[in-house]
């Protein structure tokens, strides 16, 4: 079943020096219900902008985003974004951060706390419930923000380079965790990344984007068992394929000279 339809989207900004800049040009994409989709590309390819359009934080210059047969005009509490900088409220404890989304839905404090505790358990942070975000490591902070997002039972999770600021080992652990959560809860996930390994490891489908203006280069379905073996032949084959796709991007816009 189609969950998200992106129809002929273009997005332009007027930059500081008054030049019209096209960030996205003619994007068409459909995302199936319960799919794990990765948007992969170098910086400046508009992947974050595309995600912001799906989230409803921004409006396209042309075209439209349709979710559940409705045009997206504003953010929705069923489509939760997880940011690279976590977006936790420093004045609230870990538990109260997770409670926030539930309270916003009008839930009673007591019930909200119970549900929030459940989701903290899901991400393994029960012990940190009373702490403040300042006291946590980056990986733990991102877990809190994942718990906060999941607690409101969204049907779409939009993740904007969520593990970009974390060290490699923490990143691997959180990748496994998000896969486990996806298999358990089956939300639709749109995951923005510039890390090729991460895209292959997580995505059922990898959308490869190219910059100037941002366009979809190819869409690569990934058929690997989950969790995948990062050192396997098949994994390497997918990586090679993506490298080849990016090499094609570079042949069009050579950035280097020999």
């Amino acid at each position: 079943m189609k969950k998200v339809r992106i129809e002929n989207i273009s997005k332009s900004f007027i930059s500081n020096d008054n030049v019209l800049q096209e960030v996205l040009a003619d994007i068409n994409l459909t995302i199936e219900n319960g799919e794990f989709l990765c948007l992969l590309g170098p910086s400046g390819c508009g992947k974050t902008t595309l995600m912001n359009l799906i989230a409803g934080f921004e409006q396209p210059t042309r075209g439209r985003v349709i979710i559940d047969n409705q045009t997206v005009l504003r953010p929705h509490s069923k489509h939760i974004t997880i940011f690279q900088d976590y977006g936790l409220f420093p004045w609230r404890t870990v538990l109260d951060n997770v409670v926030f989304g539930l309270e916003a839905k009008g839930m009673q404090k007591k019930e909200a706390r119970d549900i929030a505790s459940e989701y903290l358990e899901l991400v393994g942070l029960t012990a940190a419930a009373k702490q403040f975000p300042k006291q946590l490591s980056g990986g733990m902070k991102q877990r809190v923000s994942i718990a906060r997002a999941l607690a409101v039972e969204p049907d779409i999770l939009l993740m904007d380079e969520p593990f970009g600021a974390l060290d490699a080992f923490t990143r691997y652990r959180l990748q496994d965790e998000i896969l486990r959560i996806w298999q358990e809860k089956k939300p639709t996930i749109v995951f923005v990344t510039h890390d090729i390994d991460e895209a292959v490891y997580l995505g059922k489908k990898v959308v490869i984007m190219s910059p100037n203006p941002g366009q979809i280069k190819t869409i690569l379905p990934i058929n690997l068992p989950r969790p995948a073996d990062r050192s396997s032949e098949e994994f390497a084959a997918y990586r090679r394929e993506i490298f080849r796709a990016f090499a094609m991007v570079q042949e069009k816009n050579p950035e280097y000279m020999i």
Partner: protein, 246 residues
Amino acid sequence: MIWFGKSFTLLTFVGLWQYVSCFYSPEQLPGPLQVVEGIRELAVTGVLWEHIQVSLLRFSISYLLAVCITVPLGLLLGWYTWSWQSIDPLLQILRPISPIAWFPLAILWFGIGNAPAIFIIFLSAFFPILLATVGAVRSVDTLYLRVADNFGVGKWTLFTKIVIPAAFPQIIIGLQIAVGTAWIHLVAGEMLGAQSGLGYLIVDSRNFLRTDWIMGGMLIVGLLGLAIHLFMGFLEKSINRRWGME
């Protein structure tokens, strides 16, 4: 080592003061011992405590009044950008005018007594608090607003549960600055119009040529100012702890 440095500075200051005072008459420059004796004299008769009480009460009323009016005003002006932009030019003209310059007007409007002093203290706290509050609201991280928007909170909840707590630590800094400026202007306000308080004590002592009382009053103003500053620092710390800022 630091304690040594601190005591050294204070003792040297008192020593120098004592030494220099030997060359002047007590009416021109009383020594530290004479000043302490003067304070004792005032304390024994009970006059000193009355003045301190009046000053502290006057200060608390004006300062709290300033906080209660200015913080909400700053929150609104910071939140509605257009309102701040419209009012900003007027404030930039009023701000450089010393609160003391308002004194003649204050007398004309409110008469002699408590009101002009309260008005001047209020004014001296008004601008630091207003600017800090507006700045705090305007610099609230847009990421917080985005997250709140995403979870679908209403405008009112956004303001009370996100904007105010996010701005709070910066507002507290403004409040602390305002305590300092307000305390300074307390004495000025009391010197000009009031019939009581530490500022009045200083002016009145001049009329009797009791320089030891003048300096005693100054010393008490300084010590009380220090105490208030320390108290505010303590308050800020405990609030920060509650706010997860430590």
